[in-house]
Structures are given as C-alpha cells and as structure tokens.
C-alpha cells in the first residue's frame, strides 16, 4: 500500500496517491496541520507540475527527468546499515550532525534530541507528535503553495524531514550539519520537509548537504522553511554534490524578523539538474540577507538559481552574488528578482551574476530583475559573461606558469570570492580542496559528509611546471 512502483511523474499519479493514502499521511496531523495539507493538495491539483510555458520555468525543462520514472515510498525503506551508507565516521548522535537517508530522518533510537541549552533538533515527524502547537504555529506559513506546484505537493505529502529549534537568546555552540544522502537501488522520488526556527537574539550555523551515493537516478523535492526571530542570525550553507542522474528541486523560504541577519551560501559542485528556489521575505525593518552562490558545472549538468527577495519593510539590505564556471555542455540560469515595496524606504539591494564559459557548447542565461516602488532606495545589478581574462592569463604565462596551471589559478581565484566567504574554517578548507579537485575534473559525486571525514584528502597544490619554462 505504501510503496508505488516505478512510474513516470505525472500530476494524476500524485493526486491518486494522495487520495489512496490520505488517512495514512494525515494520521499524526493536528486539525490545523490537516487543513494546511488538504489546502496544499487542492493547490497542487490546480497547479500541477510547472512546465516551460511558465516564465520562471521557461529554461528548465523537467520532461526528461519526469519520464525516467521513480519509486515513491510513504515510509522509510527496510533498515539499512547506516554505517555503510555514511562511509566516514558518523560521530555519536549527541553532536551536531543530523543524518537523513532518502529524505527520512535516520536514527529511530533518538528521533529528537533536546540539548541542555534548549535547542531541539531531530525528526520533523517526531516533532509533530511531541510539539504539535509549536509546529502548527510555524509550519507552512511561509512556504507559499499557491503558485508553486512543487511546494504544494511537498506540503500535501509532508511526513518527515528535519526540525531544528533554537530558543531565544541561545547561540548554537557548533555548526549543525544536515546530510541528506540518497541511496537506493531503484530510481527514487523523494520529498522531505525541514522546519528551522531561530529565536530572537539566537544564532544558528547550518550546513545542509545534499549528496547522492550511487549513480541511480533520483528526483528530490525538498522544502525548507526558516524563521529568523528579531536580531536572530543564521549562517547557512547549502552544498550540492549529486550524481548526473539526479534532479533536485530545493526550495528554501526565509522569513526575517526585524534586524535579523542571514548569510546563505549555495555551493553547487555536481548535479544532473539543480533548481534552487531561494525566497527571502523581510518581515521587519533593518534586516540583512546576503546570498552567495557558486556553481561549477560540466557534462550536461543544469543549474537554475531562482531568487526572490521581498523588501516589504524599510531599511533592509540584501545582496545576491552568484558566480559560475561552465564546461562542456553545461547550462546555468540565474534569475534574481528583487522587489522593493512601496513602504520599503532606505532599501539597499545588490545583485551580481558572473559567469565564465569554457566551451562553445556551454550556455548561460542571466536575468537580474529589479522591481522597485519606492524612490528612497539604492539598488544595482550587474551581470557579466565571458571567458578568462586574456591579460591575466598573459601575466601568469609571462612569469613561467604553464597554461593549464594558469587557467586553474584564474578559475580558482574567480571561485574564491565566494569560497572565501565561508565562515567555518574547516569547511572553507574542505570546499577549497573540493573546488580545486572539481576544476581539475577529479571530483565525482559525493565525497561524503564534509566536516567529518576521518581521512582528509591531501591538499592540492598548484605545481609550477618548471620543465616547460
């Protein structure tokens, strides 16, 4: 009853699936949650899946992904040897690592951790049972399902995912790492739902990794809602290192109370088709959101970063800085939308998108879009697309640096503007290595969890090739 076999993705399939399993899906719902779920399903029935006739999906076709056909599971698959999946050592669960396998929270022994300082983290399914009021207050309030079919579908099918609660005035002592590994022998369609609440004056650093473990095709529809309280701060990292047969629709919604501060980093190193929906709503004055993105794509990989920053209150600052290097047949799309509403005076919004194309078959589409209804603002956007700077290249070659090394050096410097922003030193070092490996074509899929590898890779140095001078 709870497993659907490999079928193409269609709207009808999911409507039927919902109807058949309605009781099962909503077994643990509070009445309020159930209303949200049913409403979302109605929304999905109306919207369906997006297609290229819609402006925001014009350049990202899901047809091929949909046709592959996927299994859909309504409960976790048979027990897997977790140790085998996370090849690196997973430290004891009282540390700040949260593991997800195919969208399901991994440890059934300790489904919800309650730390001494009041921080709660663990399975969303468990949190729904244990803290129904808290969940009901926040769940589904910012993930708008009225105009996005994927979000509506995710809300309608919400079962598990990750829940993190940082109470007022608490600073999370160490970064929380959330790893979602996809590992299955069949094509898999998975959905997970995360809810993160950071209280007033609270602080959370979250590293969110999407990794796949084998080459099996998968389709993930992940929705994350993040609530930041007044003066709350969050350092957010989204690492994407998936195989070439994977499709990931990641939608993250941030709601920022007054004076909240957000640093978000999107690091896309591999993936078949990646779509990042990033939504930031300033729900109080003087907030600050900086969104950084780096994408290094090759083969036929496709990355689509779709941002929407809603300046609804005065005095907020936002910046979008996205950079990408595209090789072979890769394609990148940047769609940045900044809306400055009538009342949002003293807004400062910046957008920047820079791309380097390494081949004539790589493609870039960039649409930095500003919509402004207030005159007391400072807004700017810039977009450049080109190749490596010939003069810089000449400068390096002239000093005896081999062509390949010089190219690597310039590309690395290009990417480093984003990498250098990573505030966690271990992570920065690790990403630097991964970027270097990636640029040399050595990094394939999943190098497993980023912070806890027991055997760190040898750092890669740029060798100056004396033989060629």
């Amino acid at each position: 009853m709870q497993t659907e076999s490999k079928e193409p993705v269609t709207q009808k399939r999911f409507i039927d699936l919902f109807e058949k399993n309605r009781a099962f899906l909503s077994a643990n719902d509070t009445p309020g949650l159930n209303v949200t779920r049913v409403k979302a399903m109605a929304s999905f029935a109306k919207l369906g899946f997006p297609d290229t006739s819609m402006e925001s999906w014009r350049l990202t076709s899901l047809e091929e992904s949909f046709e592959r056909g996927y299994d859909y599971h309504l409960q976790p698959m048979e027990e897997v040897d977790v140790q085998k999946v996370f090849r690196c050592n997973i430290p004891h669960l009282d540390t700040a690592v949260i593991g997800q396998l195919n969208g399901w929270y991994v440890s059934k022994d300790v489904p919800l951790m309650e730390l001494g300082n009041g921080i709660i983290m663990g399975s969303l399914a468990e949190a729904r049972k244990k803290y129904p009021q808290l969940i009901e207050k926040y769940f589904g309030t910012i993930a708008d399902d009225t105009n996005d079919g994927f979000t509506a579908l995710n809300t309608a099918f919400t079962q598990d995912g990750v829940f993190i609660y940082v109470p007022d005035n608490v600073k999370s002592p160490k970064p929380v790492q959330l790893i979602n590994v996809i590992h299955h022998d069949e094509n898999l369609f998975l959905q997970s739902r995360n809810l993160i609440i950071v209280g007033s004056n609270a602080m959370l650093s979250l590293v969110h990794c999407d990794d796949s473990y084998n080459h099996q095709a998968s389709f993930s529809n992940v929705v994350t809602e993040v609530h930041l309280g007044e003066h709350g701060a969050m350092d957010h990292y989204k690492l994407q290192n998936l195989n070439n047969n994977s499709t990931l629709i990641s939608s993250v919604f941030f709601r920022m109370a007054a004076s909240a501060s957000l640093d978000s980093h999107y690091l896309s190193l591999n993936g078949g088709l990646l779509r990042n929906n990033i939504r930031v709503l300033f729900n109080g004055p003087n907030g600050n959101a900086s969104i950084y993105g780096l994408y290094l794509m090759d083969r036929k990989q496709h990355v689509d970063n779709n941002l929407f920053i809603d300046h609804a209150y005065p005095g907020c600052t936002s910046s979008e800085t996205f950079k990408g290097i595209l090789d072979e047949h890769a394609r990148a799309i940047f769609n940045g939308h900044v809306l400055v509403r009538r009342d949002a005076a003293k807004t400062d919004a910046r957008q920047s998108n820079k791309n380097i194309l390494l081949t004539d078959t790589a493609r870039v589409n960039s649409k930095p879009f500003l919509e402004i209804y207030n005159d007391d603002v400072k807004c700017s956007h810039g977009s450049t697309t080109g190749q490596l700077d010939q003069e810089s290249m000449f400068y390096l070659r002239q000093r005896g640096i081999g062509e390949e090394t010089a190219r690597m050096l310039l590309m690395f410097a290009f990417a480093d503007e984003i990498v250098a922003r990573i505030a966690i030193p271990q992570l920065r070092q690790r990403i630097e290595d991964m970027v270097k490996k990636r640029l040399q074509g050595e990094l394939q899929i999943c190098e497993q969890c980023v912070l806890h590898c027991s055997t760190p890779e040898h750092p890669i140095e740029f060798q100056i090739d004396l033989g060629k001078i």
């Binding site: 009538r342 194309l357 078959t361 960039s366 930095p368 080109g386 190749q387």
Partner: protein, 485 residues
C-alpha cells in the same frame, strides 16, 4: 531641504501637455470597426495593387487567431477594436503639386508644432531637414523629395511608394517584422494606412536629415503607420521621427511598425522623440503606443543605431531591436524614457547577435515621477555562431517621488565562450549630496533637479541629431515641469 525638493517634485508633476489642441480639418473616415470590409475599404481607398490587399488580408486572418499579449508590466484597459476608426484622412480637393495647395489649416497645425513644411524657409538655413508629415492615416506632404531624388534617394509616403515602387515594397515589406510577429504587428499589417518609405541607393550618403512627423488629429481613430527604410551597400542615412496628439479623454491606439534594412557597410541612425498625449494628471485619456521597431544588419560591417526619447503616451510598449546578421555589424540603442502621473512604459531593446564579431551597446535611462511605472525590458542573445561578440548594457533608473515604480528586466543569453557580455544597472533617487552640492553653490533646488536630470540623460541626448537634441531637451523639461531643465 528635502521638503523643498519634494515641493518642487510636486510641481514637476504639474507640467502641461502643450500640443493638446485639435485642428478643425474636414476629415473622411472609414466605417467604425474592423472587418475584412474595413481592410478592403482602406485598400481600395488607397488604390493599392493586389499584392497589398492579399498581404493585409493574410495579416488580418492571422491576427484573428492571436490574443493580446499580457506579459508586459502594464495595466491595459481592454481595447475594443470594433469601436476604433481605422482610417481617417483630411479631405483633399485635388492632387497636390506644391506647398501652396496644402490646406492652410494643416500648414498652420504643423507650424504650431514647430514643424515647417515650407521648403523656402528651410533652404535659407545651412542644412535642411526633409519632412514627411503624416496626419491621422495619411501623409500630407513630403518636402525636399526632388532634391533627394537627384541623389537617387527615394523619400516619400508609403502610399506613393506602393504606387511608384511596388517592386521595392514587395521585396522588403514584412521582411524584418513579418505579420506573424506579434499581435500589434499583425494588426498593423492588416490596417496600416500610410507612413514613410525611404530608399538610399548604393554608396550614397544622404545629404540631409530625413524626418517623419506623425500627428493624430481626429477623435476615436487609431493610427497605424508603417515605416520602411532600406540602405543599400555603403549608404548612410539619419532618420528622425516625432509625434504628437490632441488632448482627449478617451485612449487612442497607435500601433506602428518600423523596419530597417542595412546592407553591407551601410549605416542607419534612427531617432525618435515620442510625445504622444500622455493623458491628464488623473490618468484619463492618452495614447496607447504599441510599436514594433526592428532593424536588420544584413551585410557585413553594417550598423543600426536607435535613439529614443520617450516622454508621451499613457502606455508605451516598444522594443526597438537589432538583428546583427552580418559579421562585424553593430547595433546601438540609446533611450531616455520619462513617465509621469499615471503613465506606464515597458520599453527596451533586443540585440540578437548572429554574425561573428558583432557588437552592441545599450544605454537606457529611465525617469519615473508621479504615480507612473517605468520598466526596462531587454534581451541580449549571443548565438552559438556569433563568436567574439561583445555587448555592453547599462540601464539606470531615476525615481522622482515616492509613488512611482522603476523596474528592470534584462534577459541575457550567451551560447559561446568567446563573447563578452556586460550588464549593469542602478536605481536610485536624485542624490541628496548632489542636490546639496548644487544648492550650496547658489543654484535653486528647482534648477539643480533640472541640471541633474539633464546630466543623467546626457549620454543619450548627445546621440540625437542637433535639431532633435534641442527639442528633446525642451521636452524633458516639459514632461517634468515648467522650469526643470
């Protein structure tokens, strides 16, 4: 100081439209509404050859299958095409042979607009400007045709071209903007009544500026004109277009097409000062300006340059574009768009790079005031074969007043590695520092705003031919108020 500046900005929105008069001319109309009969009526009226009627009917039938596009950032009241008069012409008693035979009312109208159709006066000056004056649906007078014909240049109304040069019209009409292009282009192709036609033969540099002046006079009419410019190998022409309309409470539709063809080494410079009636302070009335302008750089080393100053119309929907087909061809777009009161503008350009080493520049300056909305929408597309191409775009917006909107929708698509595309844009209000700097030096807030706005638009204004630059500067001030500028 800020409140003072605000007061001045308030005043700025009080500027009046100075071309809102109506001339009492005897006019004949086509029956109200649109049908194949209306099209046949227009075609018969103009005594057109068969291929024209066929083209019109094909366009009309295609138009019937289309729906009005909704993607622009515009609020358009529904247009009832059955209430529009698609053809209105000043009645003429006989064929005109000289300026003296033009209806004196008409001459007076154009004199009032500052456009002299009297060649003698112009000849006294150093350089003349040849004018094709179009009122409502027809061209009333083209000046200097004879002087130009000595160089082999054909400059006449579109109707005359259909009669005298059908082979050229047949060859080029619809070759850049096919009737299937978009909703309003299809409509225009079906019902267009007149316009200008210009042909510059191989190697000829047009000795004077060519100009078309469009005037809507009759009520309840739509104006649908069509301009076709062909520059053969090595030719050069600078072309200017101006337009005004009377002040009326209802919206009037203006749906035009401009097509430019530039062959090898040819250069066409097209300048527009658009000053259709923008509607009153409450957004009542005004022209719907839905125009399709496109040029093709067909030959190598050809160049097309669009310059526009958009101050009028209640709604502007217009994207002068360049198809850069020839290798080393160049496309340019310079624009100042001013919106005030309840005006809406969605304007910009498309640069389609197809040939190798093609270059394009886009400079767009938007100024929004009152409760208006001003959008820049542009596309830069570098196709796979357009290697070593280059684009530079800059689109800035200036906001005057807290209730207006300024939006930028740039679309950039790059499909090869050797091309470089740069885009930058800023949106802000007039900097308080700049204002303070000027005022500190004894310049009144009002003049300072004028100074800053003019400086902001300078980059575009300097692209205009001299005759137009003066008018454009004046217009900028009128649009924004009495003494700004």
């Amino acid at each position: 100081m800020e409140s003072e500046a605000n007061n001045i900005l308030e005043e700025v929105t009080q500027g009046d439209y100075k071309y809102g008069f109506v001339t009492d001319i005897e006019t004949e109309y086509a029956p109200v509404g649109l049908s194949e009969d209306t099209i046949r009526y227009i075609s018969t009226k103009k005594n057109e050859p068969g291929f024209m009627l066929e083209f019109r009917l094909k366009a009309y039938r295609h138009w019937l299958t289309m729906v009005q596009p909704k993607w622009a950032h515009l609020n358009i009241d529904p247009i009832n095409f059955q209430e529009i008069i698609f053809y209105a012409a000043p009645k003429k008693k006989k064929e005109l042979t000289s300026i003296d035979e033009v209806d004196p009312e008409l001459l007076a109208t154009f004199n009032k607009l500052g456009i002299s159709l009297d060649e003698q006066k112009k000849l006294a000056g150093v350089a003349g400007v040849a004018v094709d004056a179009v009122i409502d649906s027809v061209s009333v007078k083209t000046t200097f045709s004879e002087t130009l014909s000595k160089h082999g240049i054909i400059f006449c109304s579109f109707s005359e071209a259909v009669q005298n040069h059908p082979e050229l019209v047949k060859q080029y009409m619809g070759s850049v903007v096919p009737y299937t292009d978009n909703y309003f282009a299809a409509l225009n192709s079906a019902v267009f009544s007149d316009g200008s036609f210009c042909f510059i033969p191989k190697g000829v540099r047009c000795p004077m500026e060519l100009s078309t002046y469009f005037r809507i006079n009759a009520a309840n009419t739509g104006q649908f004109e069509r301009t076709l410019i062909v520059a053969e190998e090595g030719a050069y022409v600078s072309y200017m277009e101006g337009c005004t309309a009377p002040q009326r409470d209802e919206n009037q539709l203006h749906a035009a097409i401009v097509e430019i063809i530039a062959m090898k080494d040819a250069e066409v410079k097209y300048s527009t000062v658009q000053n259709w009636y923008p509607g009153d302070k409450n957004g009542l009335g005004g022209i719907y300006n839905f125009v399709t302008k496109r040029g093709i750089c067909k030959g190598n080393n050809s160049k097309i340059s669009w310059t526009q100053v958009e101050t009028g119309s209640s709604i502007t929907w217009k994207y002068p574009s360049c198809i850069l087909l020839g290798d080393h061809s160049v496309g340019e777009f310079y624009s100042v768009a001013v919106t005030n009161n309840y005006q809406q503008a969605d304007t910009g350009t498309k640069m389609m790079h197809l040939g190798k080493n093609t270059r394009s520049t886009i400079i767009s300056k938007g100024i929004s005031a009152g409760k208006s909305n001003n959008s820049y929408r542009g596309l830069v597309r570098i196709s796979k074969n357009a290697i070593n191409s280059r684009n530079y775009s800059q689109c800035d917006s200036l906001l005057l007043g807290a209730k207006c909107g300024a939006h930028t929708w740039p679309y950039i698509q790059v499909d090869n590695k050797s091309s470089i595309v740069e885009h930058e844009a800023t949106t802000s209000k007039i900097s308080e520092d700049q204002l303070f700097y000027c005022q500190q030096r004894g310049i009144s807030a009002e003049s300072a705003i004028g100074l800053i706005v003019n400086g902001y638009a300078k980059e575009v204004l300097k692209q205009l031919p001299m005759e137009f630059a003066m008018e454009a500067q004046k217009l900028l001030s009128i649009s924004l108020e009495g003494s700004v500028g």
